[in-house]
């Protein structure tokens, strides 16, 4: 069970201190399979935290207003909204059940009072609108309080309806369903900086969608070989650049990252940049490829750097240098001697996520793979509102 840890308060100087804040959900060991959290995502401002679970539910937590008398204490997160995003489906053509497990959630940038997020399982992406209602109109002319229509001939006087406060109601409604575009399992979604399009990536293909159009998507990357027997590599993660709406990156199971420019051609099979660190011959083993498989890739907020997570380490890359990362942080190096056991029990195939904190602009924020693991170094001048989450996602 993954919980989201709270941020830290800089005590002074450049050191960021971390303190454990909250645990949401069941703490006991016996957790129902469907309750297992499969993805978490903060909203851009950090006031909302969305979680998706294996049962297809989305639970959104909201940060309470900070207490003015204690300005340095972070507000607590409490449940804001819960809804069933995906249901199990059956693909009749292949006689396969499609899991309802939520693989990824991404928030859209906030425009207006309502909030929007994209949630996806293996095959279908849905756009959800989350809106609040805390007022109710009373005193209609044409209908009475029960909602029954009044006879217009019997109305002798007109009144102006008034708004009365009511208990806060949070409604989640599906606005779009983007289906039938992926043969393989969706592993990533990413909203573009133009706020109009987004990408979805599965093992072999990446599609481009317009948020308003559900019956059409464009394939922009396709690495499926003509002969499937020659398949040696799959796509593991993909993301749009935070500012350049024509640039995206995708990572592979062989530990490589490709940067593509959609302006160069409609099908971005040929990358513009290719990031790969040469293998260290001294640490080469049978499992070198498995542990090099990139499980997550994230651009920094500035767009100058990107971060990749493989099994044992986190690497920070400068987009201008393809030959090797500018930083490498070993997350759990002690596991390197146990790779054989981890291969035997399949744990070596686990995937980890990573993310940046809010202020990567001036200093590169360090990242971590598991919640309990401390950051690998000084985080620089951490923003007091720094929020970062790290999730170990289990298949």
């Amino acid at each position: 069970m993954a919980g989201a840890g709270g941020g830290g308060c800089p005590a002074g100087g450049n050191d960021l201190q971390w303190c454990f804040s909250q645990v949401k959900g069941a703490v006991d060991e016996d957790v129902a399979e469907a309750d297992v959290i499969s993805t978490v995502e903060f909203s851009h401002s950090g006031d909302l935290l969305a979680t998706g679970d294996k049962g297809g539910r989305v639970v959104i937590f909201q940060r309470e207003q900070e207490n003015k008398s204690r300005p340095h204490s972070r507000g607590e997160y409490n449940v804001y909204s819960t809804f069933q995003s995906h249901e199990p489906e059956f693909d009749y053509l292949k006689s396969l059940e499609i899991e309802e497990k939520i693989n990824k959630i991404r928030w859209l940038p906030q425009q207006g009072a309502a909030r929007f997020l994209l949630s996806t399982n293996d095959k279908t992406i849905k756009l959800w609108k989350i809106s609040e209602r805390d007022k109710r109109a009373e005193g209609y002319n044409l209908k009475d309080e029960d909602g029954r229509l009044r006879d217009p001939l019997r109305i002798t006087a007109l009144r102006v309806p008034i708004l009365k406060p009511m208990d806060l109601m949070v409604e989640a409604s599906p606005r779009r369903v983007f289906a039938n575009a992926h043969t393989y399992h969706i592993n990533s979604i990413s909203v573009n900086s133009d706020h109009e399009t987004y990408l979805s990536a599965d093992d072999l293909r990446i599609n481009l969608w317009h948020l308003e159009i559900t019956d059409r998507s464009f394939n922009i990357v396709d690495i499926k070989p003509a002969n499937m027997e020659e398949l040696t590599e799959v796509i593991t993660a993909a993301e749009f650049h935070p500012h350049q709406c024509n640039v995206l990156v995708y990572s592979s199971s062989k530990g490589t990252i490709r940067l593509c420019d959609m302006r160069s051609s409609a099908l971005c099979d040929r990358h513009s940049k290719f990031f790969e660190e040469p293998e260290d011959p001294s640490s080469r083993s049978f499992f070198s490829e498995i542990i090099s498989s990139v499980s997550d890739v994230k651009f920094s907020h500035s767009g100058r750097y990107m971060m990749t997570r493989d099994y044992l380490s986190v690497k920070v890359w400068d987009l201008n240098m393809e030959s090797r990362p500018v930083e490498t942080h070993q997350v759990h190096e002690y596991l390197r001697s146990k790779l054989c056991s981890l291969y035997e029990n399949d744990c070596i195939f686990d995937k980890f996520e990573c993310c940046w904190n809010g202020s990567d602009r001036q200093h590169l924020a360090r990242c971590w793979g598991r919640l309990s693991f401390p950051p690998c170094g000084a985080a620089g001048r951490g923003d007091i509102h720094a929020h970062a989450g790290a999730v170990r996602t289990a298949e």
Binding site: V59, S95, M169, F286
Partner: protein, 259 residues
Amino acid sequence: MSRVASRKDRVPRGSVKGPGMMLSKGLKRKREEEEEEGKEALAVDTWWLDPGHPAVAQAPPAVASSSLFDLSVLKLHHSLRQSEPDLRHLVLVVNTLRRIQASMAPTAALPPVPSPPTAPGIADNLLASSDAALSASMASLLEDLSHIEGLSQAPQPLVDEGPPGRPTGGAPPSLGALDLLGPATGCLLDDGLEGLFEDIDTSMYDSELWAPASEGHKSSPEDGPGKEEAPELDEAELDYLMDVLVGTQALERPSGPGR
């Protein structure tokens, strides 16, 4: 990573209480856990992984490689048995298998491109080996994936014609099946490595473990005419049997083919 399936009844999440009324509260449903019987199959004796074990401490690297090879083949087989295999897992296991294989026979060079079958004789030996059946299963599975994709999407040129073969270790049914198997075996097996498998107990790798359910709906368009006839006969026979059992049998039954 949760390895133990929890079968207890659902309990509500601890803190699912909103600030107010929630319109579309997600309802929990009973969800049956599909226990993969293959998990038990993977619980193999792992003495070779224990560094303290005297045999391991003195074991030459070749022994460890061979054990890893067996384990990887097991994993590959387990992955193939899934109704919808995890492509990433499959690809990583296959690539690891290639690495192990390359280290076990450094003198035999891996062909850069899959080589066509040299002679039916060698192909027969390879077919008899269950590992060939495994690689053929993988080849046919991956080919099936693209076949199915071809059915569900816009027509794409099918690379390999012919129905996916299902080798059972016997003689090759037709040259078409051989052609399909040839490149696949070239990927995973080298010509000089049949001898490696002689001392390995391959009974566990019997391709009969291939789930029949997954085979049924993988029929390509070429299989159409053949399959149409068979169910009719079966149904007719079933009807006849039912009639016999119920006692309203075949005095009234009109004569049909074979009766």
